[in-house]
């Protein structure tokens, strides 16, 4: 073990000879400032901006009054083994979807909501909501949410429940 003692001592002395305490403090300071500045880089922000902003959530996601469900027509996946973002096990999300906007009471902003249906299993039957903001009769099919969106997907037509995924802020630049 003697060689290890000697090696450690020599290394420590060598460092002490080549650096001052002031330079050590300066380098640590630079490192701390640099680390703090990295998240501010525009590159980091740009990569994050492709993701939708996470809205504040308040209320009960198993209630039809929950802010994301302002234009929903169907069974809430939150009551069916999934969540407002995910389908229950054994079902497949339909890529074809009903899209609308809902106002988030926490920040007062409008968000784009995609009501993707979950397909492949028979109706869940729990938490039926029919809030229908912006809904139009089926003779205006592009604005009607009475359509079974599972029919337009590549998966089974059987409808199980609906999610309410936030796609982003419903704000366009002026």
């Amino acid at each position: 073990m003697k060689w290890l003692d000697k090696f450690s001592e020599n290394s420590a002395r060598s460092v002490a000879r080549q650096s001052s305490r002031r330079s050590f403090i300066a380098r640590i300071g630079t490192l701390m400032v640099g680390t703090a500045a990295v998240p501010l880089l525009p590159v980091a922000r740009a990569s994050n901006s492709s993701r939708p902003p996470a809205p504040g959530e308040s209320g009960d996601p198993e209630s039809c009054d929950y802010w994301r469900y302002c234009a929903i027509d169907g069974f809430l996946c939150d009551c069916c083994g999934g969540s407002y973002n995910t389908c229950p096990p054994g079902t497949t999300v339909s890529p074809v979807t009903w899209i609308g906007t809902c106002n988030n009471p926490l920040d007062g902003k409008d968000y784009i909501i995609s009501y993707n249906d979950c397909c492949g299993k028979s109706s869940c039957g729990r938490c039926l909501c029919n809030t229908n903001k912006g809904d139009r009769p089926v003779y205006q099919p592009f604005l009607s949410n009475d359509i079974n969106w599972c029919a337009g997907s590549t998966v089974d037509v059987a409808y199980n429940c609906s999610t309410a995924v936030v796609l982003g802020l419903a704000v366009a630049e002026s």
């Binding site: 500045a37 501010l40 880089l41 525009p42 922000r45 740009a46 901006s49 890529p95 074809v96 979807t97 009903w98 899209i99 609308g100 906007t101 784009i112 995609s114 205006q140 592009f142 604005l143 969106w149 337009g152 997907s153 590549t154 796609l167 982003g168 802020l169 419903a170 704000v171 366009a172 630049e173």
Partner: protein, 148 residues
């Protein structure tokens, strides 16, 4: 040392301006209208669903290569019967062509105008037949036959 601090200060200001610029960028109103009125079926990348919903990506611009194709894009059900104003339809059509199918556009392409939308915006009596005719024209011009 003073100069060093000055450089750091300038870099910090530049960084802040960059961050602010990136944050201030929003989507265009045409893009927002695409999301709210088209994306539900045509999907965010314009891929559509083969056999059910027509693809826009790398496809839709081809219709402008044949006679009648330009009007056809105004008269398909999703465009003609949408809840958008003529001005908004022009914006969304131009946004779709620019973003999903720029390589297929003819060299002399000029963007849609509001007046043009107003002039041609009547739904087609039989969209499938008109589409078939346009696709047949495309195959005789040597372009790959489209399009589910």
């Amino acid at each position: 040392m003073g100069r060093h601090i000055f450089h750091q200060f300038i870099c910090s200001i530049a960084l802040l301006i960059c961050c602010w610029t990136v944050q201030a960028e929003g989507m265009s109103s045409a893009h927002l209208n695409y999301i709210l009125h088209c994306q539900g079926c045509h999907l965010s990348d314009g891929a559509g669903t083969p056999g059910k919903i027509p693809a826009l990506r790398q496809e839709v611009g081809r219709f402008l290569q044949v006679e009648g194709g330009r009007e056809f894009l105004i008269q398909v059900p999703g465009t003609a019967q949408s809840a958008l104003s003529d001005n908004e339809v022009a914006g969304v059509l131009n946004w779709i062509l620019d973003n999903f199918s720029p390589a297929e556009l003819p060299a002399d392409f000029v963007p849609y105008t509001t007046e043009e939308i107003t002039r041609h915006r009547q739904p087609l009596a039989n969209v499938a037949t008109v589409r078939k005719g346009l696709v047949a024209q495309l195959s005789t011009t040597g372009t790959n036959a489209l399009l589910e």
